[in-house]
Symmetry: C2
Subunit: 209 residues, 2 copies
DNA sequence: TGTACATCAGTGAACGCGCGTTCACTGATGTAC
DNA sequence: TGTACATCAGTGAACGCGCGTTCACTGATGTAC
């Protein structure tokens, strides 16, 4: 438990407090700004104000640290999706459900546009096993949205099984292309984003009527 | 010009012949097998049977070499698409044009499935400028196929403008997910591949009738 | 409440390594006269 | 046709560097009695 005194002490002294989290956060910021390539253990430790050795108290090796940063990247994506979902209309109607679907799909694409470096690392497979699922979990948010659409009755049952992979491919693909700068200038990118989301609705037979 | 004597000499002697191409090929093979991460200039030079210094006759630095390898990866993709196109039916009918569209889209996805490591590098943006376009050029093949569908009359004019980005997003996204192993076992992957291609047709209103 | 002690979370120096790159060079090639 | 010479495409040794990782350690923390 954190008392005032432990807090005060942990700020200035030998023990860091939550070095693991601090390393992941610093790593995330580095990747955000400078990409994955230049991420190094020593440099990251110095940035965090700690000796390189200290890292090994929390991660078996650099690969495990990178895996944790990748996980954090996915959680940034999940958070963006969740925030968009929260900001979307909450009405329990077909129109509302579609708005929410478009909100999380749009957020996925925005992740590619605005966090292109995180997009690069988020889906890299590291050998290091992920024990707990990400939180919030992007793919669960997608599944939940599709379930909702199905329950409200604007996603045909016959499409329910294939819908996740199709929807995911579309937003994932466009997000990736946007991250690489292959979608033109910002204005064109925004227009294409709308086109792609509309195409997703169309390909899944999602409609309010 | 290559005469018998120059060929013989170049095989065994001081001058390599076409070291640039040999380096790119060796680099491509390395990435195919072991990924981009472990690619190094020295190691690649040794593999090719040449001193590290020799590389600098052909590339300004490692980054330029990597850019050339990325380009070669894209050309592998282009070649797979072109070969699929050649193997597809050639009939000048709606059905034929759709088959050809599915062939190149399927080849794009197969690139993700079978060449996951190349898929990783193919679309990385390197600062090094690409002077000439890739050959064969994946995006040109896609555009040509869409033009053909439009001319034959099974792609509505109103969809022609948005079609490239939509189709590209879908196959690119699924290819990327497959490359990361996010599409399940091979059987599931194959099934989803068909679903995604069918969804692409549907979202673009491509139909024979 | 005080003390002994195990455990935890860091330090700091050192390791060997392989990297990308530079340098001065040399052998081979092609060309002009 | 032969020779001189510029250019091309490689060699080999060396550079400094920063890397990931290991080691023996030490200061701080928490707990049992």
């Amino acid at each position: 438990m954190l008392t005032m005194s432990t807090l005060k002490k942990s700020e200035s002294e030998f023990h860091h407090g939550d070095l693991r989290a601090a390393l992941v956060t610093a790593g995330l910021k580095h990747v955000q700004k400078h990409g994955l390539n230049s991420l190094g253990l020593r440099q990251l430790a110095l940035t965090t104000g700690v000796s390189p050795t200290a890292v090994y108290r929390h991660f078996a090796d650099l690969e495990h640290l990178k895996a944790a940063i990748a996980r954090a990247s996915r959680e940034v994506l999940g958070t963006m999706m969740l925030e968009a979902l929260i900001a979307a209309p909450k009405t329990q109607t077909a129109k509302g459900a579609i708005s929410r679907f478009l909100a999380i799909g749009g957020a996925y694409i925005d992740f590619g546009i605005k966090e292109s470096n995180l997009c690069e690392i988020a889906f890299i497979c590291f050998d290091s096993p992920t024990l707990e699922p990400d939180s919030p979990n992007p793919s669960e948010l997608l599944m939940a949205s599709l379930s909702e659409l199905s329950e409200i009755g604007c996603l045909p049952d016959k499409n329910l099984k294939t819908a996740p992979m199709i929807a995911w491919s579309m937003v994932h693909g466009f997000a990736g292309l946007a991250a690489q700068g292959a979608t033109g200038n910002p204005k064109e990118t925004l227009a294409s984003k709308k086109d792609v989301l509309a195409a997703a609705l169309k390909s899944l037979d999602i409609k309010a009527a």
